[in-house]
Amino acid sequence: MEPRRCVGFFTDTTVCIGCKACEVACKQWNQLPPNNSDGFVFTGMSYDNTQHLGASTWRHVSFVEREKPLEGQTTSLGAFSWIFHSDVCKHCQRAGCLENCPTGAIIRTEFDTIYVQPDVCNGCGYCVAGCPFGVIDRREDDGRAWKCTLCYDRLKADLEPACAKACPTDSIVFGELEVLHEKAEARLAELHAAGVSEARLYGPELDGVGGTNALFLLVDEPEVYNLPPAPVVPQKTQGEAWRSVAVGAAAMALLAFGVVATTRGRR
């Protein structure tokens, strides 16, 4: 086995131009089918017609038309801005999909990425419920679960993932996680110094998933980008859940005992 590397993405939305080259490069490299099985439909969601990450869309660019100005920008339209964000699998440190997978199809690779082995996946779909970001999904035609592989095949050949390669503005940067953290912090500081006070990082601080290998630099609340503000892997609350079950069971037992005792007492 090759030495373990820890790689990921840093997606800086402030330089994303919304060209969708990442979406196309991803689909082309991975030979993914088009997203809409029911034909090509105009969604009206700004310029976003693929709508969300899914079994056939592993990079997805969202377009947010906000009635709010962007710091550092003025427009005669007044309080308005248009922000773009290229979303991708977060490759969580605690991956809900992996922890839910009963067959061992989902693994953590030597690059510290989360990978679905298509020849092992049996299409049970437990992983779908396990992802707090709604990333992984089953493909209708073959039933198996699919998501971003962080271009596992390209990493094996010492190439950067297709989306990062295609990104014309380096909004998507691929690299060693440690380096990416430094880059992200530096860019954040740069933006803060330039007066973009709303700039923030998304990913490293998400304790509910143990932090992510995909980092994002945002200029608004995560919800604005359709990202969960505090995602938690279901397994993390498992103990709590079982505790609740235990408490419930105990309560019910107590209740039952009480009922029995009471009725007995009446006799």
Binding site: I17, Q28, T43, G44, N49, G72, L77, I83
Partner: protein
């Protein structure tokens, strides 16, 4: 984005808030078709606030030059310049000339064949003999000096006027003007970038001229970080004008010969060369071009086969050609990598032309609407035509993609970059080079036995490129070598255009590209990484001319040859070595000192003074005022588009008087302004996800799903006024046609206040048509034939339309509606005549006259 990262302020002026706006520091919406007023306003601001770069303007532009006394400006003649010939519909430019100079010669001479008195006629000497006799007033005070003329011309382009015409609030406009001025001068430079939003107008060339005047006044030409950049829509659009697909140019901006005025080579050369500065070298380039094409057959005795060149008989632009085709005058049509039925104006007229042709050749990746016009089109849907009634024979040839062939792309900065073949094309797909070469070979075989003299040009054409592989693919590198030029005796590549001669000793396919294959090396294929060379990166690809990365770069140093500032140093005079040096290849005569002044009656290159950076201009100066070279005026003037929502607020003259109209029943125009039936401004645009007319993107699922349906962008207020819901259907109508699409109701569109009136704009992408994986109505079924007179480009960026909620009628109902509209149009023409009699301003009848009996279709 790189510039923004390094601290540049990005200003974006666009009718819509686009993805570019989203990246800009400042965005300002503007009424489509009003940019000359906006840019003219900036010129006004520069004068009012005394922001021009005085030393640059005095030394390097024609600001100090005096214009003839008889010149009259649009200020004097209410929107016309002196010399207007209403009967001919064009200008006599005699009065626009410099005082003391008979005739000035523009940089690229072809336009004068139509515009300039005496141009192209039999001549015994080149024009511009006396250009050095020009009168100058370097104090810039003389009322007839160009500086004062330009100041007067733009005196009415005040911030208030900009607000009324463009809908840009005064404060927003002034902030932009100030930003540009603050960012120009010795220490800083500003660049303008534009795309077809500036060019596709009946006054498109003058949009760019207005920007050029700003850049010259602020000293932003020939200096790093300055300039005016055309953002191209295709990989090699620059290349297709350098080695042109244009009817009126030969390679390297050499004018095409005109049938009436060019009996022999000498008269042609005299008509087109300049007595002074660099265009005096024209004979060398023409003779070398003829040697490249006809080789040994081209001799001095037969004028180097000059007679073999085709001649212009008039304007043979795309629109003229298609209109002629529709009138049955043109039997055949080659369409290579283009989809005019979707991408060119007035789709119905385009299809009518194709229906009247005998044969059509289409080369593309997949059958496009142009290839399929005979079996599917809006006319078929309306039941107006049937496939079995169309006689056009259509030949479809599958084309190789850029990854399947080799060659160069030339980008907007004149940079040639070689691309290698990655894979063999599949099946019958072939490169354009393969098609053209073998077509030529077959034609030569076909005519080999002919004894007709008229077939000699084809028989004798030098057409001998080496081929290789199973399909005999010609060598693109051999073509590049011919373009570079060689000495005829030994076939060795020349090192650049300075080695070319007019005695037949050299051959060269395109003089401006000469040097790209110097020493037998393909310089376009160089890919030295940026970190291994200087910041100018001279070893990445190759830039014409002579690998200069920045043209006219002598202007980056002051009159004495010293850099304007340390920060902006680029090319300068090295007094010790007595030569020009710097970061780039100097765009100047290497050893000509800054204090060199030409002697009286100096000719040719000797006439270039040491302080004349613009070596292609007859006087070596940057032209604020163009005494020739533009057909529709020496200075840009705000004219409304052919169809506008408002009257011209500046002049009585409504539209560009010299524009080309096509008054035909199958190309109906709206009233010139405020047509109540068409109350909205329409502007077409492109989406990142699709490629122009969709031939390269709509067959692909990965691109199709990103923008799957035709839509239009409208403001919430327009949607409310017309009862349109977001995502619902709307129908757009002009006198040319009717289309339906989805409504994108968005805050990115906003009504503008134009002269106190609320004006709504409709943005329409033009990528869809009736074939391909995603289909929709074509925006260009709405647009009309009308041309800018300088370059015959169409006006698709500003016209008028109507918009209603719901889908358009179909089938027979649609046909009936079209006929009804045609009848209404005839009534309207009567009404228009009446309005004309009442003294309605503007040009001629605002509605088109019927010129044909047959109804459209």
């Amino acid at each position: 984005m790189e510039a923004r990262r390094r601290g540049a302020t990005i200003v974006h002026v666009d009718p819509r808030f686009t993805r570019t706006s989203a990246m800009a520091n400042v965005h300002v919406p503007i009424r489509a078709g009003s940019d000359i007023a906006f840019l003219g306003g900036i010129i006004h601001y520069i004068f009012e606030h005394e922001r021009w770069f005085h030393d640059y303007v005095v030394a390097f532009t024609n600001a100090a030059t005096l214009v003839k006394e008889e010149f009259r400006d649009t200020e004097d003649l209410d929107g016309l310049f002196s010399g207007w010939k209403p009967d001919k519909g064009r200008y006599d430019i005699g009065s626009w000339q410099y005082e003391g100079v008979g005739e000035a010669v523009p940089a690229a001479g072809h336009k004068e064949i139509f515009a300039e008195p005496g141009a192209g006629k039999k001549r015994h000497h080149p024009r511009g003999q006396d250009v050095l006799d020009e009168k100058r007033d370097e104090t810039l005070q003389d009322p007839r000096c160009i500086f004062q003329i330009v100041r007067r011309h733009f005196s009415r382009y005040t911030p208030e006027m900009v607000e009324r015409i463009c809908g840009v609030p005064r404060a927003d406009f002034e902030r932009i003007a100030k930003t540009i001025c603050d960012n120009s001068g010795r220490e800083r430079t500003t660049a303008f970038c534009y795309a077809v939003g500036w060019t596709q107008h009946s006054v498109g060339v003058q949009y760019i001229r207005t920007a050029a005047i700003i850049q010259l006044l602020l000293g932003n030409i020939g200096r790093p970080g300055g300039g005016i950049m055309a953002l191209r829509g295709h990989a090699s659009i620059q290349g297709s004008t350098d080695i042109p697909t244009l009817y009126n140019l030969l390679p390297g901006y050499i004018p095409m010969a005109h049938v009436e005025h060019t009996d022999d080579l000498d008269t042609y050369l005299n008509a087109n060369e300049s007595a002074t500065t660099w265009w005096s070298e024209l004979p060398k380039y023409v003779v070398s071009l003829l040697k490249a094409w006809w080789g040994p057959a081209a001799t001095k005795e037969n004028d180097w086969c000059f007679d073999y060149l085709p001649r212009l008989t008039g304007i043979h632009s795309h629109m003229v050609t298609v209109a002629d085709m529709a009138d049955g005058k043109i039997p055949g049509y080659f369409v290579m990598g283009e989809n005019p039925v979707v991408g060119s104006p007035n789709g119905a007229l385009q299809r009518k032309g194709l229906r009247k042709a005998k044969w059509l050749v289409v080369r593309d990746f997949a059958p496009t609407e142009t290839a399929e016009f005979w079996r599917t089109s809006p006319e078929h849907e309306r039941g107006e035509v049937r496939a079995e009634d169309i006689g056009t024979e259509v030949f479809f040839f599958p084309a190789a993609a850029h990854t399947e062939k080799e060659g160069t792309f030339t980008n907007t900065q004149r940079l040639l970059q070689w691309h290698h073949k990655a894979v063999e094309p599949e099946g019958d797909c072939r490169s354009e080079l393969h098609f053209t070469y073998h077509l030529g070979k077959r034609l030569q075989r076909l005519y080999a036995q002919s004894q007709e003299e008229r077939d000699l040009p084809l028989k004798l054409l030098l057409w001998d490129y080496p081929t290789s592989g199973p399909h005999a693919e010609p060598s693109a590198e051999a073509v590049l070598a011919e373009i570079n030029g060689y000495t005829v005796a030994d076939g060795k590549p020349v090192s650049g255009y300075k080695e070319l001669t007019d005695d037949g000793a050299t051959a060269c396919g395109c003089w401006i590209y000469s040097g790209v294959y110097a020493n037998g090396l393909n310089h376009a294929a160089r890919r030295k990484p940026a970190r291994e060379q200087t910041w100018v990166a001279p070893e990445w690809g190759w830039a014409w001319p002579a690998n200069r990365r920045l043209m006219y770069n002598r202007a980056s140093a002051d009159r004495d040859g010293k850099p304007w500032s340390e920060r902006k140093r680029y090319v300068w005079w090295d007094a010790a070595k007595k030569k020009w040096t710097g970061e780039d290849v100097p765009d100047f005569i290497e050893d000509r000192p800054p204090d060199y002044r030409p002697k009286k009656h100096a000719k040719g290159i000797d006439a270039i003074g040491g302080d004349d950076p613009f070596i292609m201009q007859a006087d070596g100066k940057g032209w604020l005022f163009a005494p020739s070279g533009t057909i529709d005026g020496p200075l840009p003037t705000h004219y409304e588009p052919q169809e506008s929502v408002v009257e011209n607020l500046l002049y009585k003259q409504q539209c560009n008087p010299a524009r080309h109209e096509f008054r035909r029943r199958d190309n109906r125009y709206h009233r010139a302004f405020a047509d109540p039936r068409f109350p909205f401004v329409l502007t077409t645009f492109r989406l990142t996800e699709h490629h122009t007319a969709g031939g390269m993107s709509r067959p692909l699922p990965w691109l199709s799903e990103l923008q799957p349906e035709m839509f239009c962008e409208i403001s919430p207020t327009l949607a409310q006024a017309r009862g349109v819901v977001h995502g619902g259907w709307v129908t757009l109508t002009t006198a040319r046609g009717q289309i339906e699409c989805r409504a994108m109701v968005t805050e990115r569109m906003r009504a503008l206040i134009i002269d106190g009136r609320r004006i709504e704009q409709v943005g329409v992408p033009y990528h869809w048509g009736v074939v391909g994986r995603v289909r929709g109505d074509a925006a260009n079924d709405l647009t009309a034939f009308v041309e800018d007179p300088n370059v015959t480009i169409m006006e698709t960026k500003a016209l008028t339309c109507d918009l209603v909620a719901g889908r358009r009628p179909r089938g027979a109902a649609a046909h009936e509606e079209r006929v009804a509209m045609d009848e209404e149009m005839l009534l309207r023409i009567e009404e228009a005549r009446a309005l004309d009699e009442e003294g309605l301003r503007g040009e001629g009848p605002p509605l088109a006259e019927p010129t044909q009996k047959e109804p459209t279709g």
